[in-house]
Symmetry: C2
Subunit: 195 residues, 2 copies
DNA sequence: CCTACCGATCGGTAGG
DNA sequence: CCTACCGATCGGTAGG
């Protein structure tokens, strides 16, 4: 049953690859790209030091893949969360809460990985910018809809930039069980944005 | 004239030390702590690779000193800028514009160095947090004054956190001669904060 | 995916 | 502050 074996082998390999990506994403966000060694990543998934290079050509390739796949997963999660919500104000509130969830709950915190782009060459940075832009465009569209009906305190573009600042910077100060819950942060941010 | 020599020597040494601090601050913000080698820093001021260690015990000491002295200089610059401004709304606007200037103009960008704290031990981190807190307290006081007269859209503390997010995150997207000038960003941020 | 290993780099030091 | 150098670590590879 060689085909069977092959299929199973591929599935297992894909699993191991995903484990590496998740561990790498977590460690890169926690300690930064340079402070994370490929040995750290290998150990986090129970491999020996040389083995990650069976799945990825280089450490930079690992970062690039973690960023692209993490951002795409975040984007899909966002689109699933707003599916069917037509009122732009409600949609924005759901997007904000969803973004905070990706950022502050769970393990991967994909949007923060963008900060590590400077460790990559310009080619990879361009690819990542394209994925990131698609995520931003959903926000831009909703913000423009709100601006058109006079519900935004600023034009859509500067508003988007300042809004992402409020949300993404929360990683610097947010503590679970701290002064503010995710719902409260989301509500405060929405309050600032909407007229 | 040994005393004369000594004084001159000390002054020159202090100058070299300051040059190292400025170069280190710039490189740490640009490339990150780990990606910056002590050789990079030495070269930036025209020294040989071992010489920074005549002025600083370790690379971490260099970061710590750059952070503390950079934050204190920023704080003094802020206090000088608001000296004599009694209207809290005008004071906040000046503080915002001043913070953006420190962040986005010039060379050192001290507030961004705080992001590199994770490369230090807990003792140094605590010292730095104390300096940083003094900077934050001036903001907190002004925001509370505004909140007391109903001019703030949110309570002072969450407002301070979200405001710093808007401002500090601008380093990620701001480009000189880009779409928004520093004055425009400052105005937009103030618009979001004030009721 | 492991074992064994290499070349390069880097923080830091001794001695002047 | 320079010269000369060391020990450790790290990304990456060969060969199985």
């Amino acid at each position: 049953m060689p085909t069977g074996h092959k299929r199973q082998g591929s599935a297992l390999e894909a699993n191991r690859r995903d484990e590496l990506l998740r561990a790498a994403a977590r460690l890169f966000v926690e300690k930064g790209f340079d402070a994370t060694t490929t040995r750290d990543i290998a150990e986090a998934v129970g491999m020996r030091s040389g083995s990650p290079f069976y799945h990825f050509r280089s450490k930079q390739d690992l970062l690039k893949a973690a960023m692209i796949e993490g951002l795409e997963a975040s984007h899909q999660r966002l689109q699933a969360a707003v599916a069917g919500i037509n009122d732009p104000e409600r949609r924005l509130r759901v997007m904000i809460r969803n973004h905070l969830g990706i950022l502050l709950e769970g393990d991967c915190h994909a949007p923060m990985l963008v900060y590590e782009s400077r460790s990559l060459g310009i080619t990879a940075r361009t690819e990542i910018a394209a994925v990131s832009d698609r995520y931003q465009q959903d926000w831009q569209a909703t913000l423009e809809q709100l601006a058109a009906s006079g519900k935004l305190r600023l034009p859509a573009k500067p508003m988007r930039l300042l809004l992402f600042g409020m949300l993404n910077w929360s990683r610097q100060w947010y503590r679970p069980n701290g002064g503010l819950s995710l719902d409260e942060i989301a509500e405060a941010a929405a309050e600032m944005v909407l007229a």
